[in-house]
Symmetry: D2
Subunit: 143 residues, 4 copies
């Protein structure tokens, strides 16, 4: 049973919308940032995967529930876990809670299925061993 990966984000000045709350589409960017940070231990990190190896992890499916709004300057803690690892795809789960400490109020939940893709051909490819090993490290039982 793997460990969650934790990532903290603070809502920036330009991330709110005309309703005065963090714009909903930003939540997906923060989760993507969390995924990138989680992949940092692989050789060259997510940057090396994309830039040197020309591989990417585009989204194929996303599901999310939004429970509470966030405002400018608030911090959100993202607990990223891996729900399932397939041949070329994997399902990531992100639990967003208020504040940077554990135990904050529930804010949102995102499930993000990505597929390892050759960026030259845009075709799916089997997950490289180092990416797979890293994902397994954060794999947890489905809640």
């Amino acid at each position: 049973m793997g460990e969650p990966f934790f990532h903290v984000h603070r809502v920036r000045f330009d991330e709110v919308d005309a309703a005065g709350i963090a714009y909903f589409a930003r939540f997906f960017t923060w989760c993507h940032d969390a995924m990138e940070a989680m992949l940092a231990p692989i050789d060259g990190g997510y940057v090396g995967l994309v830039v040197q190896r020309r591989l990417g992890l585009p989204a194929v499916h996303i599901e999310s529930d939004f429970a509470a709004p966030l405002r400018f300057g608030e911090t959100v803690r993202i607990a990223a876990t891996v729900e399932r690892v397939g041949t070329s795809s994997c399902a990531l789960r992100f639990e967003l809670t208020r504040g940077e400490d554990p135990g904050g109020a529930h804010v949102a939940k995102v499930r993000h299925v990505v597929a390892l893709t050759d960026l030259a051909t845009m075709r799916a490819r089997p997950l490289p061993d180092d990416v797979r090993a890293l994902l397994e490290r954060h794999r947890t039982a489905t809640p």
Copy 2:
């Protein structure tokens, strides 16, 4: 049975990511733009709803499937329909196809549940009559 509302977007220079394709979170912004455009006929449009009436339609649930990437300069046609209208929430469905003409290849599908919210209190409120009537105009049978 209502009619779909059509909205066209062209992928901008700054909407691609380091993988060279339109960044996935932008798709949600385009669907939000489509929703805003669909609501234009209500008094003051979506802008009036937010700015004058201090009401909003924050996302409470989102589901999406991404079938094909989009590149800089490509156009995407968004067919927005209303799947369900509740007391204070409604479910919108967006079908994204390539190009601005009908019949383009499937690109993505987004289901977006929003809740009419008082922006002062952030509490749900019943949908105002004009918003409800507009939504009914685009309500279609669930595919």
Copy 3:
């Protein structure tokens, strides 16, 4: 003496900041959008320049004055002119006024110097003839 090129933008829901006004860095994006639209008549447009010919027009110098804020839903009219055309660079001038009609109140002024660049080498290159001809069409006397 060339003609200005006009471009209209409406401030989007997600373009405001926590101060409730259009975020200042967005103004530069709108001016870039205006430049792209101005270049549409060249073969393949700005998209073709970047994607097929692998040439770009990165900013080398920007100057701007902000006179009045814009809010969600407001429209801004951008009058783009070309102040100077050099061997590989050119100076663009953008005058932003409120509303989509001529004669709106002054909002901001942006001067944007760009250099024609080979995107493979990131070296400056002489402006291609079609780009130069298009720029000359919008060249005006310096105010």
Copy 4:
């Protein structure tokens, strides 16, 4: 003679453009982030200034020179200094160099004049004492 304030940013996956380099308008956002971080020591930080005191620091003038492109994953070090402090405005200067360590190659230079503004009326107001004191701490002789 004050000390520069240092801020480091890493170019994110979604901050590049279709030319494959960090989108120029993002540089202004990073400089704004540096200004926010520099103002953290005032009571409530920049967030408190905007949210509680309803004061802001909108841009009134910007000048910038771009010397070298940045790519996905590269870090940029921003040295922020205060060039001039007036009654209600101040001039900030940002020097961007490659990498997170001192001595990196020059990337860009941004001069950003902001005016302390009452967000309710959008009128200029004298700089509050704590903001002024903080700015003085980073004031340096003009290069």
